[in-house]
C-alpha cells in the first residue's frame, strides 16, 4: 500500500506556509503540465499527484485533517489510542479492525472518503478548481498487408479493452497516423476525452514495389516476342492486362500501365500507374535444329 506524502510531492516540509505551498504548486504544475510535456506519461502522472497534493494542502481544513490523520495513519498504536478515546469503534479491544479495514484500501481512495470526494478527486479542488482537463491521448498500431488496403474496408481493433471499428481508406500509407477523436482516456472533471492515434504498419505481401500511388514490377518476355513483337498477359495487383510488345523491345525497358497502380488515398476510383520492367529471357538448352537456325541468323546478320 502506498502512503502519499503530499508534502514530499510538493517538495516542502510540514512547516510550509500557505504561500510556500502556492509557489511550489505553481512551479511544479508548470514543470509537469501535460500540455508542456506532450506524450510524456510520467509527467502526466506527476501533474495529477501535484494537483492532488495542492488540493489537500492549499485548503486549511483539509490540510489540518491530513496532518492529523494522514501523518499518523500508519502508526497503528496512535490510531488505536485515538479510536479508543473517541469510542467510535467497537469496545472490547478489537485492535485488528482499524488497520485491517484500511490496509486493503488504496490510499488515495482513503483520502477521497476522508475529504468527501466521490469519483474525481479534482472535482473539489480549491483555487484553480474545477478545471476541465482533457483525457490522455492513446496510441495504437494497426498492422495490415498491402492487399488489405486495395479497397476501403472496416477493421475492428481493441484498444484498452475497448473495441473500436474503424474505416481504413484504400491507399493508406505505411507509417501514416490517423486521429480518432474522443477514443483516448476519459476527461477529468467533465473535460473532453483524449484522442486515439492509430499508426498503420503496412507489410508488402505482393511482388510489386510500392512508391506512393505507383507500383513497380518486373515481367519476363521471351526472346521471340521481344524481337518480333506480340502480345503478353501481364498480372496487375487486381487482375491481368493484355499488353502489346513492340518489335525490338530491349531487356530492361519499362512500360507504363496507366491507372493500374495503387488506389489513391481518399480519392475514389483513382489509381496511380504500374511500371513494368521487361526482362527478355534468352533461351537456354537449345536443340540442334534451334542452334542451326541461330547460326543461320548470325550468318545473315553479319553478312
Amino acid at each position: 500500500m502506498d502512503f502519499i506524502d503530499y508534502y514530499k510531492i510538493l517538495e516542502l516540509d510540514k512547516k510550509a506556509s500557505e504561500s510556500d505551498i502556492k509557489k511550489a504548486y505553481r512551479r511544479l504544475a508548470r514543470k509537469y503540465h501535460p500540455d508542456l510535456n506532450p506524450r510524456d506519461k510520467s509527467a502526466e502522472d506527476k501533474f495529477k499527484q501535484v494537483n492532488e497534493a495542492n488540493e489537500v494542502l492549499s485548503d486549511p481544513e483539509k490540510r489540518k485533517k491530513y496532518d492529523r490523520y494522514g501523518k499518523d495513519w500508519r502508526h497503528a498504536d496512535a490510531f488505536e489510542k485515538e479510536q479508543s478515546q473517541r469510542k467510535t469503534y467497537a469496545s472490547g479491544g478489537e485492535q485488528r479492525a482499524y488497520s485491517g479495514h484500511y490496509t486493503e484500501e488504496d490510499f488515495s481512495e482513503f483520502f477521497n472518503s476522508m475529504f468527501g470526494g466521490q469519483g474525481s478527486r479534482f472535482s473539489k479542488a480549491g483555487g484553480s478548481a474545477g478545471v476541465k482537463y482533457k483525457g490522455a491521448d492513446y496510441k495504437a498500431e494497426l498492422h495490415l498487408n498491402l492487399t488489405d488496403i486495395l479497397e476501403t474496408k472496416k477493421h475492428t481493433l481493441t484498444v484498452n479493452e475497448k473495441q473500436i471499428r474503424i474505416t481504413v481508406p484504400a491507399g493508406i500509407s505505411d507509417e501514416q497516423t490517423i486521429k480518432i477523436r474522443g477514443y483516448g482516456g476519459e476527461g477529468i472533471n467533465g473535460g473532453p476525452n483524449g484522442d486515439l492515434y492509430i499508426t498503420f504498419k503496412i507489410s508488402n505481401d505482393t511482388d510489386f514495389v510500392r512508391d506512393g500511388d505507383h507500383l513497380y514490377g518486373k515481367f519476363d518476355v521471351d526472346l521471340f516476342t521481344a524481337v518480333l513483337g506480340g502480345e503478353v498477359i501481364i498480372p496487375t495487383l487486381k487482375s491481368k492486362v493484355k499488353v502489346k510488345i513492340k518489335p525490338g523491345t530491349q531487356s530492361g525497358s519499362t512500360i507504363r500501365l496507366k491507372e493500374k497502380g495503387f488506389p489513391k488515398y481518399k480519392m475514389e476510383n483513382q489509381f496511380g500507374d504500374l511500371y513494368v520492367e521487361l526482362q527478355v529471357k534468352i533461351p537456354e538448352n537449345l536443340t540442334e535444329s534451334q542452334k542451326e537456325l541461330f547460326y543461320k541468323l548470325k550468318e545473315i546478320s553479319h553478312g
Binding site: R30, H33, D35, V131, P192
Partner: protein, 97 residues
C-alpha cells in the same frame, strides 16, 4: 454552408463551457494563434482549431499564462515536436545500419 455550420462552435458557447472570458480568446486571436470566423452577428471557432484552443485555455487557467506567453510556448512546442520527429528518424536510421 450547412455542412460548414455543423463544424463551427460559437465563441459564446465555448467560453461558457470553459468558464473563460471572451476577451482571452480575442487576445489569442490577436496573437495570431487562432482564426475566428464572423458570420453575421455571431463569432465562431472552427472545430479543427478546438483542440489547440483548449490546450491554450488550460495553460491560461491552470498555469496563469497570458496570451503572449502562450504564443511563445506554442512556438517552442512546435520546435520540440519537429526535433522529436527528426530524432526518431535519426534513431531509426542508426538502427537500420
Amino acid at each position: 454552408m450547412d455542412r460548414n455550420r455543423n463544424e463551427l462552435i460559437t465563441l459564446r458557447s465555448f467560453c461558457h463551457f470553459h468558464e473563460i472570458e471572451v476577451s482571452f480568446v480575442i487576445q489569442v486571436q490577436e496573437e495570431g494563434l487562432l482564426e475566428l470566423l464572423q458570420i453575421e452577428e455571431e463569432t465562431f471557432i472552427r472545430e479543427e482549431e478546438l483542440s489547440k484552443l483548449e490546450r491554450m485555455v488550460r495553460l491560461y487557467k491552470q498555469l496563469r499564462i497570458n496570451a503572449e506567453g502562450i504564443g511563445a510556448i506554442m512556438q517552442l512546442l512546435e520546435k520540440i515536436e519537429a526535433l522529436e520527429v527528426e530524432n526518431e528518424m535519426l534513431k531509426k536510421k542508426l538502427s537500420d545500419k
